[in-house]
Amino acid sequence: MTTPLASKLEQVLKWTCVLPLMVILVLTFVDVFMRYVFASPITGATEIIRFCMALAVFAGLPVLTRDRGHITVSLIDNLLGAHALRIKQAVCDAVSLFAVMLLAWRLWDQAGLYVNTQAATIVLDLPMAPLVYVLFAFTVLTAILLAAVMVNTLAAASARGEIS
């Protein structure tokens, strides 16, 4: 994928992955500094870090899934031929896609629940719903990228005449 859209997406994903960690790193440092120098820790620093953690975890999901970077323990790869291997990969991708879509749907519902209950953090009163909607968006993007990867694999297989 080297279309302009794809490379733009790549840039955006890079920054959404990097920024939350930067905030955690700097905030932790400044919080400690403020505490020792001015005896005034940053109010609610832990809650900002919590939100950044969630953002980091889900920002990494599209990239990791597209790169097939998840931990796997496949034992049967050596037993399969090239043809069977590609079919196996497609099956695994399909199961993964199902799991990712399940997650996305659950996050969407959970965000809706948070809208209803107006759930918010205890110190800064940061609302949970917008955060979970962002997590949902990352998960949907993950599903789209995974589907694209899967289609590419199958297309490559059929181009070689392995699937009629």
């Binding site: 932790t28 990494g60 959970q110």
Partner: protein, 430 residues
């Protein structure tokens, strides 16, 4: 119990086909929960778990320690570490191998990943060993095994994950590694002494260095030592919380990398990208593990296992040996982080009833999964060394780890026989 066992088998089948372990656990855990409590509750449980785990303050300790390791890795200090270790130990029989183990231990004191340690030491330590006529088995074996030290000596990524997963105090977990870590370094050296003693041709002696040269080489490590004192001293001296120590450590490692002109802005961003990806990888399995653990909990399996152990009249030692054997077998084929996350909460619930301390068990489990990094067919440390030295056959590296595997088994035996080896230092802090 039956339902839980079906669940376990289902997860393993999906995983062995090649579905990512995280997704296998998420799907089976949710399905199992649905069988026990209904579909809607299972759906909500999954959503709650995911949001709760990902937005957890304490978990930020993980990316920060990972980031510290990555910055140090990029800062290219491994060469200095190795030179210093070599200056002190190079003149012994098999001296370069001893130096490798020591350098791995030192690197492990700043990095929490055994793969990173194996990778970085492969680049530095193999060329000189080859030049000096070391057999590939001893050079690669000592590097792959030396990597284990990085996961045992704090900071340790698997130990942090264990702590987060089982809500065990990470500070105390780190303290618990003090004696096992030191003893393991010595046992690794003993393994080298015995191997070289039996077959002296495997590893010749190097030259003796003057004390001045030793001190000169050691003094080059000052920035790393300062960082270590800041992170560990700050944590145990009561200056920072564990989470803060990790953040301060990452900042310090960044400073070292920049000062050594090894970290440009582009590299910093790449390190952060990498840290995010590793964090995501671990968190997604955490989602799965906690979902799956909720299902196993409700199924009553833990309770039944405890009853079964009582009926069989198994002792603490008997149960621990059985668990060690399970890890040994599963460690052959499973990747370590997945194995840890899948099994630790369940085994811990069982052994706690036998009076086993969660801190002790954490160190035991991390040792066991690290052994799995060395055993064929799937041994990640061995693969890492192989990836950097494609010309060395896998079988040579696996063979080279055998003496060190023996050392790992010895340490497991020692901590089972004397749990205080782990527990004593944890009583030194409140």
């Amino acid at each position: 119990m039956t339902l839980a066992l079906i669940g376990f088998v289902a997860v393993l089948v999906l995983a062995f086909i090649g579905v990512p372990l995280a997704f296998s656990m998420i799907l089976i855990g949710t399905a199992g929960f649905a069988v026990l409590r209904g579909l809607d509750p299972a759906m909500t449980m999954l959503a709650q778990q995911v949001v709760d785990v990902s937005s957890n303050y304490g978990l930020s300790v993980l990316p920060m320690f990972i980031l510290m390791g990555l910055f140090i890795f990029k800062a290219d200090i491994s060469e200095e570490l190795y030179d210093a270790a070599n200056a002190w130990l190079g003149h012994l029989k098999g001296g370069l191998a001893h130096a490798t183990v020591l350098a791995c231990g030192l690197f492990g004191a700043i990095s929490g990943s055994s793969i990173a340690a194996s990778a970085t030491m492969s680049k530095v330590a193999i060329p000189p060993m080859r030049r000096s006529g070391y057999h590939d088995a001893i050079s690669t074996g000592s590097i792959a095994s030396g990597g284990v030290l990085a996961a045992v000596i704090p900071p340790s990524v698997p130990l942090i994950v264990y702590g987060l997963l089982t809500e065990t105090d990470i500070k105390k977990l780190f303290l618990g590694t003090l004696f096992p870590g030191l003893i393991l370094v010595l046992l690794f050296m003993l393994a080298i002494v015995i191997t070289i003693g039996l077959r002296p041709k495997l590893g010749p002696q190097g030259q003796l260095r003057s004390m001045r040269e030793r001190l000169r080489k050691t003094s080059k490590l000052w920035s790393v030592v300062v960082l270590l004192i800041l992170v560990m001293g700050g944590m145990y001296g009561g200056l920072f919380t564990v989470t803060e120590s990790a953040g301060i450590g990452a900042m310090g490692a960044l400073a070292i990398g920049v000062a050594r002109r090894r970290l440009a802005v582009k590299d910093i961003i790449n390190c952060m990208m990498e840290a995010t990806k590793i964090t995501t990888m671990i968190f997604v399995i955490l989602f799965g593990a906690l979902t799956f653990a909720n299902f196993i909990n409700l199924s009553g399996m833990t309770f039944e296992l405890v009853m079964l152990i009582e009926d069989l009249g198994l002792s603490r030692v008997g149960v621990l040996i059985a668990i060690a054997l399970i890890y040994l077998v599963m460690g052959c084929v499973m990747e370590s982080m997945g194995l840890l996350i899948l099994t630790a909460p369940i085994f811990l619930a069982v052994v706690q009833n036998l009076g086993v301390d969660p801190i002790w068990f954490g160190i035991f489990v991390v040792m066991m999964i690290e052994i799995g990094m060395l055993t064929p067919p799937v041994g990640m440390n061995v693969f890492t060394v192989k990836a950097i030295n494609p010309d060395i056959p896998l079988t040579t590296i696996f063979a080279g780890t055998v003496p060190f595997l023996a050392a790992c088994i010895v340490i497991i035996g020692l901590i089972i026989a004397w749990p205080d080896l782990v527990m004593a230092p944890t009583t030194w802090v409140r």
